[in-house]
């Protein structure tokens, strides 16, 4: 019974050529063909007790949907994924599968795990239309703050249950980080648009250009008749290292750099939004955001892009696949290295020299990892007298974010923790009745899937809450 494909390796993802793709913004990974997908699906052993499902933050029925692929029933597969995940086309592309479902797959014990993410993407991209079940309207109204993955998920779940849902978004477009953070070459914006349009067709109302806390407050939403509010306002303001030179011209936060490129379309040659192009670029940090900034810089025409990260390759928090892509595209990695100062041009003879105040390089120090502490974590420590300089014209700081204080400042009684994250219970309920929260606004910068999971939990709790009141 040659039922399963016992190859130890997953089918490779067809990709754009690394040299060509470094010069364009089209999607890098091209997606499995039907043959590749069927063949990969056949690597799944349909475990009775599927460990992969436990690794998935929203517990997608993985062997269930893979079985449907084997039967070439794409719609059926999509229906199974949709039961627990609302953005399969997005998750298939950006989830860190190597630490979630695929990390737990039994096939990974010997060889590579089943390519679950790639199969999920295959299903989402090929299930063109899909009936969505929707309950009749129940006459209750809920409001959502922010249209990132957590807010979209919450909105999607409740509209299907019959609620009237309005999403308030500060920006002029929807999608949150999916739109202005993650670049086109990794997550085509059309996919995000399609997901948003699906919700619009289901009846979700989107109100762009509304900043909750300024244009309207949460209190006013309740006065306007909304019975519950979900806050999915995201991770907030970029952190800086507080080292000298961070205000030189040519120093960006990754958020600014990526927003300029994505949202304002600075990557188009005819765009009116300015962004630094060309030259040598240093990106400080090791997460997904840093990888995206580095690869965006490359595509904007940088001569050379270097990632500076204070720990080693093993600790890079970015998705493994993106690190590999970055290496293939020629991004250099300066690991176990930490910036101590950003250097700038300063012509003392001529104060009016137009180059004054622009970045010229970064002074760094070498780091080593300490012996593991009680928790097994190895801290990076500076090696004395190991400073050296790297040339740069642009420096992108990608070292995390701190919550935006706006909603907390304008919502009386909303509790936050000492880092400014909104405090919630296991149902996503905040310290205020009827106010739920989830995603990066609660956890700090995390992942799309956990934001989605939080939206789901809060949607369920909201439904129970509103029904219990009625």
């Amino acid at each position: 019974m040659a039922k399963f494909n016992m190859s130890l390796k997953k089918n490779e993802m067809p990709m754009q050529d690394p040299v060509l793709r470094g010069k364009n913004f089209s999607e890098v990974a091209l997606g499995y063909t039907k043959e590749l997908a069927l063949d990969e699906a056949n690597r799944c052993l349909e475990c009775k007790n599927p460990t992969c499902v436990q690794g998935c933050p929203v517990n997608v029925d993985i062997p269930g949907f893979i079985k449907k692929i084997k039967e070439d029933d794409i719609k059926g597969a999509y229906a199974i994924i949709s039961k627990t995940s609302s953005l399969p086309a997005v998750c298939g592309r950006v989830c860190p599968q190597e630490t979630q479902c695929e990390a737990k797959c039994v096939r990974a014990i010997k060889g590579e795990p089943v390519g679950i993410g790639r199969l999920e993407r295959y299903v989402a991209d090929n299930a063109l239309t899909c009936e969505i079940e929707k309950q009749p309207k129940n006459g209750h109204k809920v409001a959502v703050v922010g249209s990132g993955p957590s807010g979209l998920t919450y909105a999607g779940d409740l509209i299907k249950m019959g609620y009237d849902v309005t999403v308030f978004e500060a920006f002029h477009t929807e999608g949150g980080v999916l739109t202005y953070g993650i670049p086109e070459f990794r997550l085509p914006k059309q996919i995000v648009k399609d997901e948003v349009n699906k919700l619009k067709n289901l009846g979700v109302i989107f109100m762009p250009n509304v900043v909750i806390g300024r244009t309207l407050t949460i209190e006013e939403l309740f006065e306007d008749g909304y019975e519950a509010v979900f806050v999915g306002s995201g991770a907030g303001l970029p952190n800086f290292m507080k080292i000298p030179g961070e205000s030189l011209k040519g120093v960006y936060s990754a958020n600014e750099f990526l927003t300029r490129s994505n949202l304002m379309k600075a990557y188009r040659t005819n765009a009116t939004t300015p962004i630094m192009k060309g030259g040598k670029v240093i990106v400080v940090g090791g997460g997904n955001v840093a990888m995206d900034a580095a690869r965006t810089a490359l595509r904007l025409g940088a001569e050379k892009v270097t990632i500076v990260y204070r720990r080693s390759m093993n600790e890079l928090p970015a998705r493994r696949e993106e690190v590999e892509n970055a290496i293939e595209e020629g991004i250099e990695f300066n690991l176990l290295t930490n910036p101590v100062e950003i250097l700038g041009y300063n012509n003392l003879e001529d104060r009016r020299d137009p180059k004054n105040g622009f970045v010229t390089g970064v002074k760094c120090i070498k780091m080593e990892l300490s012996d593991p502490d009680e928790k097994g974590r190895r801290r990076p420590v500076a090696i004395p007298n190991s400073e050296f300089e790297i040339e740069a014209d642009t420096v992108v700081m990608s070292i995390g974010t701190s919550p935006n204080p706006l909603i907390k400042q304008t919502t009386k009684g909303l509790e936050v923790n000492k880092w400014g994250g909104i405090v919630v219970n296991e149902n996503g309920l905040t310290s205020l009745e009827g106010v739920y929260a989830g995603g990066d606004a609660v956890t700090g910068a995390s992942t799309v899937i956990s934001a989605m999971g939080a939206g789901k939990i809060a949607a369920k709790a909201t439904d129970e809450y509103i029904k219990s009141k009625a």
């Binding site: 244009t215 907030g236 205000s247 011209k249 958020n255």
Partner: protein, 283 residues
Amino acid sequence: MFEIVYKKVLNPTVTLMDIKAPLVARKAEPGQFIILRVDEDGERIPLTVAGYDREKGTIRIIFQTVGATTYKLSLKEQGEYIQDFCGPLGKPTELDGLKNVLIVGGGVGCAIALPIAEELKRRGAKVTSVIGFRTKDLLILEDEFKACSDKLVVMTDDGSYGTQGNVCAPINQMFENGEKFDKVITIGPLIMMKFVVSAVKPTEIPCDVSMNPIMIDGTGMCGGCRLTLIQNGERVTKFACVDGPDFNGYEVDFDEAMARGVMYKDFERHAYEDACNLFKGVK
């Protein structure tokens, strides 16, 4: 889409518009700003709320044509629409308890200063205004300032109107005459605010400035609007869009802010020239 319900050209480069935006008008306070995009694919630019009519649901903006976006906006006519209009953003100017205030405005900064002067007047405070322009042709809002100021001094750099000189001359004079104020609020080009702050400093009167750095989102996400305050000898990063736009003038690192302000000069000149050529082609 947001309708332009009224438009008036104030001088060759400065235009006033009232925009229908009821949600923004309901909340706007002096010192706050909005972010707009003229059209699909346009850049987001911040402009100060120069006035509001809660009943009519309109917001007044007064802007100077300096680049591609403001140029495109200046071409829009009454009855036409702009794509996006978001606000009110930033913290309102702190006016509570002020009884006697000196307002110093420069150029288009006067448009930002006007609603503050008007609100102070409405609250019964004594308002002294000094407004400065490069030359007579650029003078704006004189009548409006007259209406809400107990005393108004108009300055032009070249003496073509009012008194010749920059805004620091009359305020130095006032201080020499022993005039006292609860607060000085100054809004205008960075270099002007820097000099006003140095002029006020010896008097120890609190002096607020309105900082207008380059902004992208205006909601506290990108960090592009950061500036440095020097508080007790320590350099502290602040974000103008959420922590400001008003700051204690004594704490602002003006030199750094001025250096950052010219980051895109060359690029923008090109974008502006392109836009101009583009529109020339259309016309």
